[in-house]
Symmetry: D2
Subunit: 370 residues, 4 copies
């Protein structure tokens, strides 16, 4: 007989009972396959990622805010101090605005006739429906806001989203609603939100159209690249862990992971990679997208610390299932953390990175090879 | 402005809070995409499928019992009277035996070296591990049991599994354990369990090897086909609904759905199809497997009542996530039902089907076409 | 610099040109990801599986014959001597009958209204369409044939399909058509075809309904289990390789792979597992189905020879793409082989297996454990 | 009997024969499921998208250039005049540089130990391998080039990639190699290449690091948004079709599709949407990503012309399989087209869009709503 019993727990769950809490069900009945991975993800987040001041970055792709998960899950995670910085698609932030502006989205169906919807002025995001006016009114809000004087300059997306979040927050107060929006919550709690593709979404589209008028707003992509690397470098050089919590994949996943090669490969600063890696996705490794690339592959790039490979979990399930379960679990099992308010520390973090870059010697090497 | 608000509920979930129950989280935060489908599945099961004496058939594919879901979820659903009959792969029943015989499975990892495992006598089912002796001892149990005189005949799989379940039940009592096994629970609660591929699994393999000795046990596949159709026909002709709850897909899915064409197309009896359809799967419709075939496609075959197409849900998520959630939901939201004990009624049900077949005229038509 | 150049070929494909042959395109431009796997699969089949008298078993799941691949690809592979035995779902054989009987299927669309189709008597298999009469007439053909005296007995599915194939072949000749059908081709070329779920399909449904009349036809599942093991044992004990070519997954995949545990675990005969493993599927390992289980996992069960793990390829693509490409490749790159006509050798193969079983000692152990 | 034969072709493929050409195999044997979709995609591209001066945009995601498809397929399509403009991830352009600089990538395996690879300085992209020096040397090339005076300004990505492409082209000439690189080919053939996430890739990382030194290079995201819309507007307002050919999905997919809402919703110019839509992906519509969103959903947004919905195809297969097949097909079935050289016309196209925007009245409305 082997020594399995010394290395692994026996698999013998108790029968599910009436009235179980989410955290108990996950600990009891999620034992294998993606159920097992989801339980591991919950424990990784609770016991490792948010332990001991660890910095947690979250990337958002897929229609999370249209599905209501901005309000239901992402904002509560920020408020509990469990998510310190965010990289999001523009679409998730654009649709987040509807909630902050008290516009109405509806839980519909994916099986409707789109030609009819187009005729009736209804917009469909899979099974989420809303009127075309929601787009036009949200666009008008964006254009109105970015006409303000504080927007007439070149800035990074964290600053842009912070300023935008302030106006959402003010609108919420005026409307007498609260806890509706990721942008507003991030503004209040000092969580920096970046986007890796600033032109890609209705926010970017309106910024671009305004640039054909007299707007001076331009996104400084370089600052985003360096500022995100600065957040990770500050965590790691300060003796803390850096964790990535990836919902979906896409460009935000890569943008979050590339912080480490930016530090090591491009800036020549010695580092070992992110410590913990948690992804909820349906993307597979074999079909060519970075979305499905494994933590193992990321190790070969220096994105993930090879010693931490056990601290990585991919759960292949829909974020609309995985995220609320994980949120309920971690809120049940861990007390809120002190907020890091990384947004308030952006100049300081950048200075630390620049200093390390200038002293690494790589900056001086520019162009010297080949 | 459109009339969306008259047709669909507003999508505005409350923030997730500490200590939430499974049923409340699903009702609150599962609004769209597969999260939305899972919530619909929970409500379909609770409000339609088990309402008013409806008959519920469940098909089991994928490694459910190895993942502990036999004990955690399937047995509790049977005991609450929520599942009336089952079609399972042989593998799920074979691995269920390990639990009934108090053998040990372990929650391991999918990332182990299989050549090492083979050398060490460890069997791996993805991330579930156990010793090779578990197979040998389970095989010996099966061979021992089927040597008994009641097994020396041709029989359908529901009878075979009922007899086998009796011996598991007796072993459980002897070992002082309970609520461990699907087979034992089905035996006690009168739930017939069929398999669509009786030779395909270690149970079938041992039955086959014994047939090279002096065993007289032979599976009557024809009886299975007709008996499953008889269960559905009894439900529908008695004025009740017939629902299918499909975990995974595969041959058991088709075997469950083909009951309706067996009644209509082959036996010439007027019928309209199953009423409710609930599937939890990762199989997509476009890649060619029946596993991924939609309820819509099933309508064209007469497998699903076209008037009931709204009463169908496919949730694309792992059963190891979907099944415990659905089980917790329905146990929280619906009182146990009176058991149907369909196993005890098998001769009567078959007689009703035969009578309808003989009077349909189709039996007399045999071979008259073309 | 590493020694990559010593271990792996440089990845530098030539530009695709007008008029390329399938085999050249695959060798030139399929270098990585599933394209790379498909090229490896083509070479594994051509250079290893059909080399030196190796025995090749093929399992068929998914709607292959409805997609026309029976005629286009499976029959040509049998005729070239590249496929020696088959395990198929019943559905693939049932729909193969339409082609042999010169009935008409149509290349339609997956986006039709199924309620309308049901009303109009049109059956849909995803994007394949045909009239309801095709089902009724095929059913009548099956019932007519199985009324014959040679069917009035208990038999294994290879014999059943051989007899059925003979009637398809005779019908083809009468209709003046040829090369239409898998069943007819298998009959002519001596390729045994098994099914792992004999009741699951319209063929099994009609056999079952006839059993309620006076038919004596009953499938001997035990014989199927042992006969498939006998084919593999004959190959391996004769010093040849045994390869599995799996399209899709499902019960036929397991039925094909379990031949090795039947030999080793159940019958106690020393063996090492199949040599080569080639699968074309969309099933992933993490979602619980055996369809997605990897060759690595199969090693831990003794299904695959651990020394041959490099000789295994899974290509995650639709069989409707992978199978015609692979067929075109192997027909271009390898001359036809001498037919094995394993059907003609069924009693002899079974005798060899029985003899090994009786001498292994396992038969005498029955029931002695625990 | 229905009238299927009047609406759909009979499904009866000829047997596959030795030595078949790619285009013949696709027309003959690809009849249903994703095989059928791939054949439809080939015909849509050949008969509709490139017919009559239609403008074709291609979006690149997933590891296409690392898989060698830049040289094998994308460059030949540009040279034949079949692809007029491109949106790519930064990663595809970065890894394209290796080919243009004659660095060596290797066709490896996905099953290697990443901790060992990290130690040995080997980088893995799934099954593509190369030395860490390839990254460092490519980075150095990028840094060297962008130090040049023509890069010391704010510019859009099409201009940036054109300038970069020029230097790749010069390097190719110096090295005596040709037809190696997407960037070089696009430079020579006047095909504009955009990226939707300019900071996300090693190219963007190096640009960002240089900005911490004295580099003045900054990407003008607004110009990218407007210039891509200008290309589509020029095609449509000139009476031609606009088609999208999407490999994968991700941010480039949305960036390509949003050109239409930019024209209609944001700029207030009357338009109807793209005409033809062809996507090769593994992303499903139900899991929340825009990658999997269907053309139908895009109709509800005005991204796709509702009258053209039949002119849309999604083929669920790996681009590493689908792209070489489609390339071989279209090169066999259609003569090369006259190059559009859209890069050379960028100022003119932008002027046309600006003029339409200024006259639509939407520009004057800014901020007037709510």
């Amino acid at each position: 007989m082997s020594s399995l019993n010394k290395k692994f727990p026996r698999l013998l769950p108790e029968p599910i009972k009436k009235g179980m809490k989410v955290s108990d069900l996950i600990d009891t009945a999620f034992k294998a396959y993606n159920g097992g991975r989801l339980a591991e993800a919950c424990r990784l987040f609770t016991e490792k990622m948010i332990a001991r001041e660890g910095t947690v970055g979250m990337s958002l792709t897929g229609a999370l805010t249209p599905a209501g998960l901005g309000r239901a899950a992402i904002a509560p995670l920020m408020k509990a101090g469990f998510v310190d910085w965010i990289i999001s698609t523009g679409a998730n932030l654009y649709h987040d605005l509807h909630f902050g502006l008290d516009m109405h989205l509806y839980a519909g169906s994916p099986f409707l006739n789109d030609v009819d919807l187009r005729r009736d002025g209804v917009i469909r995001i899979y099974d989420v429906l809303f009127d075309y006016d929601v787009l036009l009114d949200t666009d008008a809000f964006v254009r109105n806001v970015i006409q303000g004087p504080e927007f007439q300059k070149t800035m990074a997306t964290d600053e842009f989203h912070h300023l935008l979040g302030k106006y959402v927050y003010l609108r919420e107060k005026k409307l007498g609603i609260k806890e509706t929006s990721v942008l507003s919550t991030a503004y209040q709690y000092g969580v920096p939100i970046f986007t890796s593709s600033p032109g890609d979404s209705s926010i970017g589209m309106n910024v671009a159209a305004m640039a054909l008028r007299d707007s001076k707003l331009l996104i400084d992509v370089n600052r985003d690249v360096n500022q995100t690397a600065a957040i990770v470098y500050a965590a790691k050089s300060g003796g803390n862990t850096s964790s990535v919590f990836i919902l979906g994949g896409g460009s935000p996943k890569n943008f979050m992971l590339q912080t480490e090669p930016q530090i090591q490969e491009v800036m020549g600063i010695e580092e070992r990679g992110h410590d913990y890696f948690l992804q909820c996705t349906d993307a597979r490794p074999d079909t060519g997208g970075l979305s499905g690339a494994t933590p193992g592959e990321a190790v070969s790039w220096g994105k993930i610390d090879p010693d931490q490979l056990p601290g990585t979990v991919i759960c292949y399930t829909d974020s609309t299932i995985g995220l609320p379960l994980l949120t309920a679990y971690v809120l049940a099992r861990h007390a809120p953390r002190k907020l890091k308010r990384l947004y308030d520390r952006r100049p300081e973090l950048m200075e630390r990175l620049k200093k390390a870059y200038y002293t690494s010697g790589r900056a001086a090497e520019v162009g010297s090879k080949r």
